[in-house]
């Protein structure tokens, strides 16, 4: 280990890249951009779809709650990598009309990005749905009754009474789900998307400095994590509710 540590040479990132696109530091920047872009976009899908599914699971009746339950079970019980490969290799072949457009009209990078985006979005949606459901269920049942008694319809009760409180209760768990999206986005490297973890392999191939590349990428992940955590902490502080754990007195 000491030998390895002594031999590290981080100036390799300043060397001109083989393809003339600047230096190898640029590789890291490009990877970082894709990781952040993919994570944020996937999070938007996950949050929207997850909220809808989570609300479905708490609705009265039979059809919508069981649809929500099926969605969650399917997306939670198949590994992320398998889901990604299904989005990338299977769906374009199976969905009529989608395949030709996907394979011929999109360039490879967009194909990889779209598959990873849909995969991460719908995968995380199942987890967000569970958080939203537990958030809504954690509210006293009087809240729903009070909303309906005031003459709100069911949609208004959810929109104006239940969801605003439920979201604020689950901010901490949503934060850790967002951190999971960032980490899970590394799986997109398996279909060739040039996000951060893929760049560690590419840098190893092009510069033959594997330790430096892996250290740089690992530190970047830790840095993203730290930034998101600090941001989330201030968000949690501003959204805290009185009467709940960690809430205002």
């Amino acid at each position: 280990m000491a030998l390895v540590a002594a031999g590290l040479d981080f100036s390799v990132f300043l060397r001109p890249a083989f393809d003339g696109s600047g230096n190898y530091l640029h590789f890291l920047v490009v990877g970082l951009q894709w990781t952040v872009f993919l994570s944020v976009a996937a999070w938007l899908i996950a949050f929207t779809v997850g909220s809808v599914i989570g609300v479905c699971r708490t609705l009265p009746g039979r059809v919508l709650p069981s649809f929500g339950a099926c969605y969650v079970e399917v997306f939670r019980n198949v590994p992320l990598l398998v889901q990604l490969f299904i989005w990338y290799f299977v769906i374009p072949d199976l969905v009529p009309g989608f395949g030709p457009w996907f394979k011929e009209r999109l360039n490879p990078l967009l194909q990889q990005f779209l598959a990873a985006l849909l995969c991460l979005g719908f995968f995380t949606a199942a987890r967000v749905a569970e958080q939203v459901r537990s958030g809504i269920n954690s509210l006293p049942s009087g809240q729903r009754a009070a909303g309906l008694a005031l003459g709100f319809n069911l949609a208004q009760t959810y929109w104006l009474v239940l969801l605003p409180v439920a979201y604020r209760v689950i901010v901490p768990t949503l934060t850790s789900e967002f951190l999971n999206v960032i980490k899970n986005s590394a799986v997109a490297s398996t279909i060739g998307l040039v996000e951060l973890s893929r760049q560690s392999q590419q840098l190893t191939d092009f510069t033959a400095h594997s330790y430096e590349s892996y250290i740089a990428v690992t530190l970047l992940y830790a840095l993203i994590n730290l930034i998101v955590m600090l941001g989330a902490r201030s968000l949690e502080r501003s959204l805290r509710l009185s009467g709940y754990v960690g809430g205002r007195k």
Partner: protein, 224 residues
């Protein structure tokens, strides 16, 4: 409309079964090592010794802030160098060894957090009672706190094991022949990738769904 061709699956079943065996081996090793090592880390994190608890926190937060794919790649390049430095000879199949080590150490950080939460969920009066009965701190932890904590944690530990079982598919990145790797390569070879991927997804779903249903039943029964 797409024409399915399931013909390459029956012939590949023995290989797929072997792959599943490796998947289960990795899962079981990582669960066993992860729980034992995770307990030690959790105890270190709760220890009054500041150095020990900070080191444990660094371990847990370090592993939890990095994607599993990166951890696998790390051990894939680190372990060979380490073994060479320690034993002065090139090992045979380092991919397998690196996968076992990477999963065990990575999961230990997740188990440590579950176990820490479990220990902290045991009421403080239990510690006081143990100490008042004349037990040492170590005896209190071993005979009173940990048994109660583990009973409460069993469903969470099993759920984490199911997640781990799914995550083993990621050893694809270092090219091991576990279940998913075998399915992918068979499909690629025979031009039936669509069928093999759907088959692999279905197998994972059946196993994980059954397991999580059992865990849910268990949770209802041992609820303290």
């Amino acid at each position: 409309m797409y024409q399915f061709d399931w013909s390459s699956i029956p012939g590949a079943l023995p290989y797929l079964a072997q792959g599943m065996l490796l998947t289960l081996q990795i899962t079981c090793t990582a669960v066993a090592v992860g729980v034992v090592f995770g307990t030690l880390i959790a105890l270190a994190r709760l220890s009054p010794n500041a150095l020990l608890s900070n080191l444990a926190a660094l371990y847990v937060n370090g592993f939890r802030s990095v994607p599993l794919v990166m951890v696998l790649l790390w051990f894939y390049i680190l372990v060979p160098g380490l073994i060479q430095a320690l034993f002065h000879h090139p090992p045979l199949d380092i991919r397998l060894l690196s996968a076992f080590i990477a999963f065990s150490l990575f999961e230990a950080s997740y188990y440590a957090e579950i176990i820490r939460a479990g220990i902290q969920s045991v009421s403080h009066g239990q510690v006081s009672a143990g100490l008042a009965l004349g037990m040492s701190r170590r005896e209190t932890m071993r005979l009173i706190i940990l048994p109660q904590a583990f009973r409460r944690m069993v469903p969470l530990l099993l759920t984490q094991a199911i997640i781990l079982f799914q995550d083993t598919s990621l050893v694809y990145v270092i090219g091991l022949a576990e279940f998913f790797g075998v399915a992918y390569r068979t499909g690629n070879r025979d031009g039936t990738l669509v069928e093999l991927l759907l088959f692999a997804g279905a197998v994972y779903f059946v196993i994980c769904f059954t397991a999580s249903t059992i865990v849910r039943q268990l949770q209802k029964r041992i609820c303290v």
